[in-house]
């Protein structure tokens, strides 16, 4: 693999963050979030939305940093590489949560949701592999 290939893979990873933001934004409608949260105390309901918004903001931030500094990451620049190590841990935990924590079966009511759910898991896997490869091989290609 060449540094330019790894850079391109990182830029694809950056763009995939946009897909995750879109998927996250469609979640409230798919699971009728508003109805479920209405039964909760106001503070917890607002905290839920704050968490939800900030996860979206973080995805935008991680995607932007990855797109702008894909070259530095692929070249093994120390701060960029450290970011890749930590993002590897982040996406590994996210994949574990998808596999072992969430039970989404009741909500996969049509083929589109099934397809979207599998696509999201593939994106998590792709992000994990790309950041892990960059953390491991960045600057040594």
């Amino acid at each position: 693999m060449k540094t330019s290939t790894l850079t391109a893979m990182l830029q694809i990873a950056a763009l995939l963050h946009l897909g995750l933001i879109w998927a996250g934004a469609s979640m409230p409608r798919a699971v009728q979030l508003g109805n479920h949260l209405a039964a909760l105390p106001v503070f917890i309901r607002r905290l839920f939305y704050v968490y939800f918004s900030f996860i979206g903001l973080l995805l935008a931030g991680f995607g932007t940093l990855t797109f702008l500094f894909a070259g530095a990451m692929a070249a093994g620049e120390p701060l960029a590489r450290a970011l890749c190590v930590l993002l590897t841990a982040f996406w590994l935990l996210r994949l574990i949560a998808a596999a072992f924590v969430f039970d989404v079966r009741p909500y996969l009511v049509n083929w589109f949701y099934h397809l979207g759910y599998q696509a999201i898991n593939l994106v998590f896997l792709y992000l994990l592999v790309v950041y892990a490869v960059t953390a491991w091989m960045g600057g040594r290609l």
Binding site: H36, V50, Y51, P78, L83, L86, L93
Partner: protein, 138 residues
Amino acid sequence: MNALTFFLQAAAALQLSVAALNMFLVPLLKWKEDLARMPLLLREVFQVHAWFISMTLAIFGVLTWRFAPELAADAIPICRWLAAGIGIFWALRAILQVVYYSSSHWRGQLGRTLAHLALLFLYGGLAVAYLWTALAHH
């Protein structure tokens, strides 16, 4: 060590503390019964979001602690962008503390008012530290 490096390392330590505290928010604030009323998936989403906010704060804290001198010196372009990103994160969090959470949660209760003010200064302080870092060399 210059002053900005010191402030960044203090910010790193504070973020690691907030990350740890956030993991125990449900038992600390006795929300278990309220959360039990949510459907299983949403309860899991809430919990996983909380873990990932903690994980992200830990990422911010570890990177800031390890690379504080580079961030303070604006050694390479990614330093400025990372500092700006973290600064915007905390600035938005400070704004939400004022405009989104209802004042009825703390008004008239001394302990809660002090907690509200402490969090506001913490979030605002972190925003200032990182945005200053991002803009100091510009």
